[in-house]
Each structure stands twice: as C-alpha cells, then as structure tokens.
C-alpha cells in the first residue's frame, strides 16, 4: 500500500493528546487529563484493566468522541469537526467485534465502503480493495458474504476495510480476542509488515511485547506508566497495582 506523505509535516507527531479529559453524558469520568505523544512509525501497546478507558481513548483518536477538555492533534491536524473526514482517513480503527464492522452484503463491498466514502470510484477503488484484501491474504474472499467467514477471517477483513482507506495510524481494539493461535500469528505477521503507526489496546501481554517496543498503561482514565515494553512488563509491582498479569511461566526479559 502506498502512503500519502505530502500532507504531514515531518516534525508533527502522529498522535498528540494534550491534557484530554472526557466524561460520558451520564457523568462517568472516563478520561482524566491524558497527555500522550506518539511519533510516526511507532508501535504502541495500550494496556490497562477492564474499564480503564482504553476504548474511550481510541474513540477520541478518530473524533468519534470529542474531549470535554484538552486537545488532540493527528499528524499536526487538530481533531475538530471540519477536519473529521481527513482525521478518519488518517486514523483507521479496527473494532473488537468484526460483526460490528462488517455489514455490507459481500466482502468486496465492505472493503470498498471506506474508500468510497472518501470519494474514490472505478478502477482506483478496485485497486485499493484488491491491495487491502491482498495485504491480509484474503484476495479470494471478495465475493463472499462476511457472515459466512470464520471469526479469524472476519477479523482480517475488518483490518482490510481499514487498510483500504490508506491510514497513517492503525488503531486496534483487542485484536487477538477469540483468535486461535494460528490466526493470532497471521495477524502479527500482517501488522509487523505495515509501514504505519500502530496503537494496540490489548490484554494479550506477550503480543504487546512482541509487536510493540513501547507500552502505555491506562488506569482509571489516566496514564500511569509509559516506557519500553520489556521494562514495564518486568515491573511486578506496577503490573499488580494495575490488575495486569503475565501468563504463567512467561518472563518478558528471557525471550
């Protein structure tokens, strides 16, 4: 996939969140002053217990939710209403449940949905769809209805629907949940070859260690740790206070 580079100034961070706070309409405070900068090309794991605000943070990155306080910039561009179309082109979000994401009658139509919204049509659109399906190894599935595919295949198609929009930042919410080990491996192989900034919200700590050099821990709506993944996963006290736990027998420093 080709990347559009002309629109971003070199020095602008891929993601810049400045003291971002958000409370839901019912008053629940989901984010309390999040400061986060992610440089272009980084792969960052977003860890934290259930209800820490990971999904809320993700929905801020592409402007689905607007912060009640603070500001967010994506590649230097502020996330505001007039910029939403460009923001959503730059930030591709792969949601946790592929059934939420795939809704068109065929896989090809679904992958074409995003780029068509960006105004592409004809052979340009076809090429985008083909390239995106190729990137996830699902070229043969174009004519099939999404609900006839296996869960792992649907997760890959969900990734393709986002890749087809040629994003600069790829955000994945729990990408390995419910995947068998082989599908989990396939997804890792795809993610490591993509030349984009990647943010992965996950409970799968070995996966975070493998894919993401940097880890951010979110707890109760605030960032409580930010650093190299092996260091963070090796800090037993930090892990325990944030309800994080390595799989039995797994040592982050021995791999």
């Amino acid at each position: 996939m080709s990347l559009t580079t002309a629109t971003i100034p070199v020095e602008a961070a891929a993601v810049h969140m400045d003291d971002v706070a958000y409370h839901y309409p019912d008053g629940h405070q989901a984010l309390r002053g999040v400061d986060l900068t992610i440089e272009a090309g980084e792969r960052v794991a977003l860890l934290g217990p259930n209800g820490a605000g990971k999904t809320t943070l993700i929905l801020h990155l592409n402007g689905i939710l607007s912060p009640t306080a603070g500001a967010i910039h994506i590649g230097g561009l502020p996330v505001t209403k007039p910029n939403l179309k460009e923001i959503r082109r730059r930030v591709g979000v792969v949601f946790q449940d592929p059934d939420d994401q795939l809704f068109m009658p065929t896989v090809r139509d679904d992958v074409a949905f995003g780029p068509a919204n960006l105004g592409l049509s004809g052979t340009v659109l076809d090429e985008r769809v083909h390239a995106a399906l190729g990137a996830v190894g699902m070229e043969h599935a174009g004519d099939r209805p999404p609900h006839h595919l296996s869960f792992g295949q649907r997760r890959r198609i969900a990734l393709a629907t986002v890749l087809a929009m040629d994003p600069q930042i790829l955000v994945l919410d729990e990408p390995t949940s419910n995947l068998d080990p082989a599908a989990r491996r396939d997804l890792a192989d795809i993610l490591t070859t993509l030349p984009v900034t990647v943010v992965i919200a996950t409970h799968d700590l070995p996966y975070a260690l493998e894919l993401c050099p940097r880890t951010v821990i979110l707890n109760d709506g605030a960032i409580v740790a930010d650093g190299p993944t092996p260091e963070i996963l090796g800090d037993a006290e930090l892990m325990a206070t944030n309800r994080l736990e390595l799989p039995y027998g797994f040592h982050p420093t021995h791999t």
Partner: protein, 256 residues
C-alpha cells in the same frame, strides 16, 4: 461469536446455468413482469395457465432446480391454499354437488383463481430466489432504481438477522443451562426479560455499527453497488419468459 457457516444461504442453489448467469436487474424485472401477466390472465383461460406452467417448468429445468425442490418450497403458499379451500364451502349460490358436498360455483372459481395464480407467482419468485444470491438481488433492485434507503435496510437485515438469532440462541442455551424449563405462563418472566435484553443488545450493536461506519467516513450515503448492469442481450433473454406469458394472457383476453 459463532462462525455461522452454510445455513445462511437461504433459498439460493449455487449453479452456472443461463438463469444463474443473467444479471439480477433483468431477472427481477422479468419475474415481476411474469407475475403481472399471470395475475392479469382471466381465470377461465386454462390454456394460458398451461403456457405459464410450461414456462415455469422450462426455467426450472434450465436452472437445474428439480421440480420436487420447487414443490417443497411451494409450502410457503399453504395459508393461501387453506383460504382457497374454504371459499367453495361458504360461497354463494348456485351450488353444485361434488362427492356429496354442496359447493358454491363462484366459490370454486375464486378458489381456482387464487390457487393457480398464487402457485404460478410463488413458483416464479422461488426460481428467482433459487438462482440469485441475496446480495445480487439487492444489487438488482438498486439497478432498477429502488431507493437506496430500502435496499440498505434490507441489506442490513440480511446481514444481521443471523447475528441476532445467534445471540438469541446462545441466550436460550444459557437459560437452559441454568435449569430454566418454563411450563406455565407465570414462568415466562425470564423469557420476557431475555427478549428485552436482546432488544437492548441489538440496539447497542446498531450504535456500535454506526460508530464503525462513521470511523470509515460514512456521511449518510451508502456507496452505489459495484456490479455491472445487464446489457441489451441479457434484457432480451430475460424478457422472453414474460413476453410469452403476456402473449398468452392477451390471446386469452381477445378470445374471451
């Protein structure tokens, strides 16, 4: 979430026949025209109905849909047939005696009218559904300028009906696993709250789908379907069947 394999193909029978290959817009239009021709046939025109039945048989043969399969699928017609059977018993005079039963002659004609036109019309739509996938059908309707809102709603329904029934099935299994075995009406409370929960979940899923669509730049309009239109040759081939049926109907009217 379970995979949901196979059973969702519905009425579609995969194949490569001429009927399968015709573009959906021509097929939908031809089916509609055929049904209109059948409905417009005077009920006394037995020959015209025989022609229509022969057309159905020829198309079924071409599409490799066995007649027993067609017959089984015609069961959907049953409620109308039941109604038709009822008519001769309650119709007006004059009456005629059949096997000791006094049957109304206008009632018999009305029953025959419902039965023959219903059967032919349902057969035609069964053949359409057997040779056209749901997504092709939606695309065909789109090409025939049915408003996008309608085809989009139908498309969403087809896409998610399985997800929701799957959710309902898992909730039922979970209820049964906890020893729920309702026998009396006052035990239906769990069932009612399950239905409520299912509604809320479907609603919330709808919201999540909308979010996922917004994330991909959705601005209120679905992109047009990316399939080819039927060309003139295909329209001509598709028009053959309703043309013959219409000719039979016209002939019947002229001779009536």
């Amino acid at each position: 979430m379970s995979g949901g394999h196979g059973h969702a193909h519905g009425l579609y029978r995969p194949g490569h026949s001429l009927v399968h290959r015709l573009r959906p817009d021509a097929k939908v239009a031809a089916t509609l025209a055929f049904v209109l021709a059948v409905v417009a046939t005077p009920r006394t025109a037995f020959l015209a109905f025989a022609v229509d039945a022969a057309l159905v048989a020829v198309v079924a043969r071409t599409a490799a849909v066995p007649l027993p399969v067609l017959g089984r699928r015609l069961v959907i017609e049953a409620p109308f047939v039941a109604f038709a059977v009822f008519l001769p018993l309650v119709g007006e005079a004059p009456h005629t005696d059949v096997l000791g039963l006094s049957l109304s002659v206008p009632g018999l004609w009305a029953a025959w009218n419902i039965l023959v036109k219903g059967t032919l019309g349902v057969s035609a739509t069964i053949l359409l559904a057997s040779t056209t996938t749901v997504s092709e059908l939606l695309c065909g309707l789109d090409r025939l300028r049915v408003p996008r809102a309608f085809t989009a709603i139908a498309g969403f329904m087809v896409r998610y009906v399985e997800v929701i029934t799957g959710e309902a099935r898992r909730m039922r299994i979970a209820r049964l696993s906890r020893g729920y075995d309702p026998r009396w009406i006052w035990q239906g409370r769990a069932l009612a709250s399950s239905a409520g929960t299912l509604f809320i979940r479907a609603y919330e899923r709808g919201e999540r789908i909308h979010l996922a669509m917004l994330s991909r730049g959705f601005a209120g309009h679905l992109p047009p379907a990316a399939h080819d239109r039927a060309d003139r040759r295909e329209w001509l081939v598709a028009a053959l069947v309703p043309a013959v049926a219409a000719a039979a109907t016209l002939t019947a009217w002229i001779h009536a």
